[in-house]
C-alpha cells in the first residue's frame, strides 16, 4: 500500500457522524403513536380501512348488484311472453276464428251473401 493509499484510508476513517438522539426519539414517538392508534381502533376496522380491502369490497358490491339485476331481468323476460300472448291467443282461438266459431273462409263468404231477410 502506498503512502497516498494510507492517507486516503485514514481520511475516510476520520469522517464520521456524531451520536444523535433525534432519530431514536422520532422512532420512539412513531411507535407510541402507532400503539395508541391500535388501541383506539379494533383490528377489523383497521383492516377494512386499508385501500386494498376497500377496493375488494367495492368490486364485490358491483359484481353482486350486477348479478342480481341480471337474474331479475332474466326472470321477468321468461314470464313476459305468456302474459302478453294470452290476450291475443284468447282472441284468435285455436282455429284462428277469432273465437266466433265462424270458419275463416266462410266468414268472408257470409259477409258477401246478402241477407235473405228470413225470420226464423
Amino acid at each position: 500500500m502506498t503512502r497516498d493509499d494510507r492517507r486516503l484510508e485514514r481520511t475516510l476513517a476520520a469522517v464520521h457522524a456524531a451520536a444523535d438522539p433525534a432519530p431514536l426519539a422520532r422512532a420512539l414517538a412513531r411507535l407510541a403513536e402507532r400503539d395508541a392508534r391500535a388501541q383506539l381502533e379494533p383490528a377489523w376496522v383497521r383492516w377494512l380501512s386499508r385501500p386494498a380491502a376497500l377496493a375488494a369490497a367495492g368490486a364485490l358490491l358491483v359484481v353482486s348488484v350486477s348479478a342480481s339485476l341480471w337474474i331479475v331481468r332474466d326472470t321477468s323476460d321468461a314470464a313476459a311472453p305468456s302474459l302478453s300472448a294470452d290476450p291475443i291467443a284468447g282472441l284468435l282461438g285455436e282455429d284462428g276464428s277469432l273465437g266466433l266459431g265462424v270458419p275463416g273462409s266462410d266468414a268472408s263468404g257470409a259477409a258477401l251473401r246478402p241477407d235473405s231477410g228470413e225470420v226464423r
Binding site: 475516510l12 464520521h16 457522524a17 451520536a19 444523535d20 432519530p23 422512532a27 411507535l31
Partner: protein
C-alpha cells in the same frame, strides 16, 4: 447507522429519515433475531437497503456541490488524524475525498464507507450487502482505484 446513512445520502434530513425508518423495522422484526451475532450486519443491511431505495427515488441533490461543505452538510465530522503531515491541509484534503466519494457509483461508495468508515470485515460486508465476497473485494478495489486516480495531485497545492 447514522454514519452510513449520512455518508450515502449526503443530506442530513434524509439520512435521519432513513435511520428513523430503520429503527422502526429493527423494532418490528428484532424479535426474530437471536443474540447479538449478526445484529450489526443485519441492521446495516436495513440502512443500506433504505438508502438505496431513497437514492433511486431521488432525482437530484439539492444544492450545488461546490457551495455546500461535503462534510458538514450531511452532518458529518472530521476527526484529526494522528501523525497527519502538518504541511498538508487535512480539512481541504478530506473535503476533496468526500466530493470524490459522492461521485462514486452507489455500490462502490457503499463498500468504501462500510469498509473504511465503519471498519467492517469482508465477511461482515458480505452479510450486510448480501453479495459474494468476491463482489465485495471487487467493489472495494474499483472504488479505491477511482478515488486514487481522481485525487492525484490534490495535495500538491501546499
Amino acid at each position: 447507522m447514522l454514519t452510513l446513512a449520512r455518508s450515502m445520502m449526503r443530506d442530513r434530513a434524509q439520512a435521519e429519515d432513513v435511520v428513523t425508518e430503520a429503527l422502526l423495522r429493527v423494532h418490528d422484526k428484532g424479535g426474530s433475531i437471536r443474540g447479538d451475532r449478526g445484529l450489526r450486519t443485519w441492521v446495516l443491511r436495513i440502512v443500506a437497503n433504505l438508502c438505496r431505495d431513497q437514492l433511486r427515488r431521488r432525482k437530484f441533490v439539492a444544492g450545488r456541490a461546490d457551495e455546500l461543505s461535503p462534510i458538514e452538510h450531511p452532518g458529518l465530522m472530521l476527526r484529526p488524524v494522528e501523525g497527519w503531515d502538518d504541511a498538508l491541509d487535512q480539512r481541504r484534503y478530506a473535503e476533496a475525498v468526500e466530493r470524490e466519494l459522492a461521485r462514486l457509483p452507489h455500490d462502490q461508495r457503499e463498500a468504501m464507507v462500510m469498509r473504511h468508515r465503519l471498519g467492517l470485515s469482508h465477511e461482515e460486508m458480505m452479510e450486510a450487502l448480501a453479495v459474494p465476497i468476491g463482489t465485495v473485494k471487487s467493489r472495494l478495489a474499483r472504488g479505491l482505484a477511482t478515488l486514487r486516480s481522481r485525487l492525484e495531485g490534490i495535495d500538491d497545492a501546499r
